[in-house]
Symmetry: C2
Subunit: 441 residues, 2 copies
């Protein structure tokens, strides 16, 4: 490549799926990108763990000296796509301190330290963009921070993890149990060798922290997010869901709550939930992502698309890169962090939600009444209840199954009710407990 | 209101549905907006046609001297919500020349002169924002200009007019004919007293011009947009649609085409089209809007929400206002227009599309064959054909009806085929001609 004094110098850290796509597009679409930026992009170096000739890029661009790369005078923008929290944090902080703008897709890092990184960017008066960190190619960060900057966001609820959505969609469609759906997802490349971060909800929780932070102008870290994964969802849960006209989705929910005393709080939580089939999130299948935003003036908005994969994530990275480069060329900066409202986090116990509970009980008179009394004692109102006999293989009636759908109550009252039921004489087992979202009160 | 030297001065032009909401939010959410901007917004004046005490705002803010208002030294940002092209154009140009940033929702004006306005904003080095001009509260302008700035947009297809979508949804759901569905929409306030701009597709065409301009970095005006409205859509068309597993939607379509000679062109068009029921746009009902964007790396994205109404449109205006104000406070500007690619416009005749044609023919041997020959002569390939007898009130067979669904062919070849069929001896009438979108080749 010829040197160009006006060029915007770019360093890419990491050459995995996304990094390779970003490098490819920077080179193949050079002319279009230059027209949109007002100057050409010039790739100054690619940081990798191990320099090798077989990486599909000119070997002279590769370096394993990340510290030197992010300090180079001819680098204006650092694109961080290395993945884990460390050494990405160190590299990003060094880049910002060196006055480089930074584009990153590192949700785990952002969810730990968005405040620190934003402060470092502010101090250096450079851009820090991270559209690709949530929901891949789907623009959600920019709409929340810019398009809705004059509105009051009430709620963000999304399907933001493709792996778990693939597994849950398969369980819904085929009746498979969790283990076999996970095995299929792994065989097809939809789940990683160690799927823990996805199936335990940690990936979704990091995204929920980022979404809650920007939607409510409050710093929320992954530790503030209540998190349940999908490993305990059973084929029987899906049968129950179907009977209720629902499916089960792993949702990331961020909510602005007004508590009894009129105080505003923020809730961020991730769990598998029953979603009615006519809700827009119910039909988001496979590896797709969708985010529903409810704002005071805008009403309900939905954003839908591919949430992962090399090319879609690269699209989001490139959008940020072009914006950061244009700001460099034009001598400005993008919109900064707004002043933070510092709303306190609402613990999960405080959250009003609906529960679906399925119990096996002994088949004696008065059981339904005493089960219902456990709900009533904790002021949990029952919306629907169904009781049916349970027969053994010989066709003999051996007990009953009671399924209860509650109205909204605090999670604390509901979980105390479940604990009481688990210790109840007439209850042989609590077969399933699922929250329900998007179905009114 | 107390004067504040650091405040960002705002003038609002127009006090209709949207203007009133914008003024209300500026006053009621003053504290939040100030936190996000870094300085308070101060309303300096509201331009109206007639100053009166009963407008729900302090009368001293009202003025009918727009020229003076947009020239005031203490006005930093002008929010134009007057509606018609004139006097809005004059007011916006004056504001830009006076160094004010401008936020507008005026799609008709933008579709006529986006180039001129952008140049004036560039010359004055101020912001010109217009998120509210397309699809109300749904962020589409910012995602297209910023989030997808590093991607190549291939196609934008949307339902961008709530009035016609309401009418078509009603026709689909109730079997009503166009006139009675329009009358209902008028009675319920979904259609204006003079619905021409909506039902003839002009409103959608203006939005298509704006979308095509920003998606393809090419200046497209409303005159470049091929436009058919919904006034000729019949109840029988909806019966045909149902038989094909489709509904009918008024679509605004913007496409990047590569012609035979490898040249890139841009198409922008608006017409009612058959849409398969499993397509994401098919289920967008009532007064909602949705825009599907297909980009090379990002794949297919969809944006959905309320496309009109005072509050949703005000949300988009406020987002732009906060961004423009933040740029003022921080001494920068938002991203400017990118260099324009100036792709030529593809005339409608060049567009590959699919047609559904329904014909009444005389019931003689050889008619189907000679009708099919008219398609073949123009190299239009037939995908499906159905022929059925037509009986009169006495149950006597008086003719036949032939329904043809074609594969993709150029619109020119298809429209020539229709002209030939209209003049064909055996054809008594061409009952319906509809394009089909979103159903493959």
């Amino acid at each position: 490549m010829a040197e160009d004094k006006n060029a915007v110098g770019v360093a890419v850290l990491g050459l995995g799926n996304v990094g390779s796509e970003v490098v490819r597009i920077i080179e193949e679409d050079a002319e279009d990108l230059a027209a949109r930026i007002g100057a050409p992009l010039q790739l100054r170096g690619i940081g990798v763990r191990r320099v090798a000739a077989d990486r599909g890029v000119p070997v002279e661009l590769l370096t394993d000296d990340i510290d030197a790369l992010v300090a180079r005078d001819d680098v204006d923008i650092v694109v961080e796509l290395m993945g884990p929290v460390e050494p990405a944090r160190k590299a990003i902080l060094a880049a910002l301190e060196n006055g480089k703008s930074v584009v990153t897709a590192n949700k785990a890092l952002l969810a730990q330290s968005t405040g620190k990184l934003a402060e470092a960017a502010e101090k250096a008066r450079v851009d820090l963009y991270f559209e690709a960190a949530v929901a891949g190619a789907i623009p959600v960060i920019r709409p929340l921070t810019q398009s809705l900057a004059g509105d009051t966001v009430l709620r963000v609820a999304g399907i933001v993890n493709g792996t778990t959505n693939y597994i849950l969609s398969a369980m819904n469609d085929t009746g498979a149990d969790y283990e076999s759906a996970l095995a299929d997802a792994s065989a097809l490349g939809y789940a990683e060798a160690d799927p823990t971060a996805d199936v335990e909800g940690h990936d979704a929780a990091a995204k929920a922290a980022i979404l809650a932070s920007i939607a409510f102008h409050t710093r929320v870290t992954a530790d503030d997010v209540y998190c349940e994964g999908i490993t305990k969802v059973t084929a029987e849960d899906f049968e129950s869901a179907k009977a209720l006209g629902c499916t089960i989705k792993l949702l990331a929910i961020c909510e602005r709550l007004t508590t009894d005393k009129g105080k505003q709080r923020v809730s961020a939580r991730v769990y598998p939930a029953l979603v009615p089939l006519d809700h827009p999130l119910a039909s988001v299948g496979g590896a797709f992502n969708a985010v529903v935003v409810e704002a005071e003036a805008a009403g309900r908005l939905m954003f839908y698309g591919q949430g992962a994969g090399g090319a879609p994530t690269a699209s989001a990275v490139l959008g940020d890169l072009v914006m950061a480069a244009r700001n460099r060329v034009q001598g400005g900066r993008g919109p900064r962090e707004s002043k933070y409202a510092k709303l306190p986090i609402a613990p999960i116990g405080m959250i009003p939600t609906r529960y679906y509970v399925s119990l096996y009980v002994s088949d004696k008179p008065g059981v339904l009444s005493s089960v219902a009394a456990e709900f009533a004692k904790r002021e949990v109102s029952i919306a629907e209840v169904r009781q049916e006999g349970v027969v053994n293989e010989g066709g003999e009636r051996v007990g009953a199954r009671i399924a209860v759908l509650t109205h909204r109550a605090t999670d604390e009252a509901l979980s105390k009710t479940i604990t009481a039921l688990e210790g109840h004489d007439a209850v042989s087992s609590v077969a399933s407990v699922l929250r329900m979202e998007g179905a009114g009160e």
